[in-house]
Symmetry: C2
DNA sequence: CTATATCTTCTAAAATATAGAACAATTGAC
DNA sequence: GTCAATTGTTCTATATTTTAGAAGATATAG
């Protein structure tokens, strides 16, 4: 199985963090906050669709009965497969960074 | 500045870990080990070249005076810019995973 | 019905990832 | 010298992903 890409990882984690309020707009906002960068609409929705197609997230139509205008939300949640993919990334990240990170990055700073 | 991609991150960290023995073949081997997957030649060299073009790594021709056949190695080291990019990823990862990771992943496991 | 607010879908272009054939350079055997 | 074996890189083409934002959809308020 292929590894999650950076944006896929961020989208999945954002959905987890947003709990019952995870949909395109809030996911995009959260990712913008955490990265400090601007993200276009497509930069979020396209990977989101791909994640659904791969079975890493599921979506359902959000409650339309809220006192607000606008189109219905498409809400997302992470599937068990999505969790597994995240676990794999977590393991990989640990293996990659464990020994290297501190001393090596310090060395770089003081160069 | 754009975030490092997954493979760029892995290549940079591999170079750090390999210290004075970082070149195409060893980088590829290390990434294969840590991911448990097969990586083609191009899957390593292409990002490696891009990292050099962006100034995140520098290369030099390896010592040719070793008792062995074969073409000269192109050795790599991470530049200060490369370190900075890694630091950014490290911060991002921390922000993304800190609160979410444990309880959320556990919830997933027990679903 | 019109204006406004929210949100998603669609589409195209740019950038990256991925595979592996081809090429290059060095050693040792004869 | 030159042939085979070894080691490693460069080249190049295709597939996939990223990224941007226009267009479209739907709900409310007046």
């Amino acid at each position: 199985m292929k590894l999650l890409s950076r944006i896929e990882e961020m989208v999945l984690l954002s959905i987890l963090k947003l709990e019952d309020n995870a949909y395109g707009v809030t996911i995009r906002r959260l990712i913008s906050e955490v990265t400090g960068k601007r993200w276009s609409i497509g930069a979020i929705y396209v990977p989101l669709e791909r994640l659904e197609h791969k079975g890493f997230v599921e979506s359902y139509t959000g409650e339309p009965t809220e006192m607000r205008g606008g189109r219905a939300k498409r809400m997302y949640k992470v599937t068990r497969e999505g969790f597994k993919a995240l676990e794999e990334i977590k393991r990989l990240h640990k293996a990659l960074w464990e020994s290297t990170s501190d001393w090596a990055l310090d060395k770089g700073e003081s160069k």
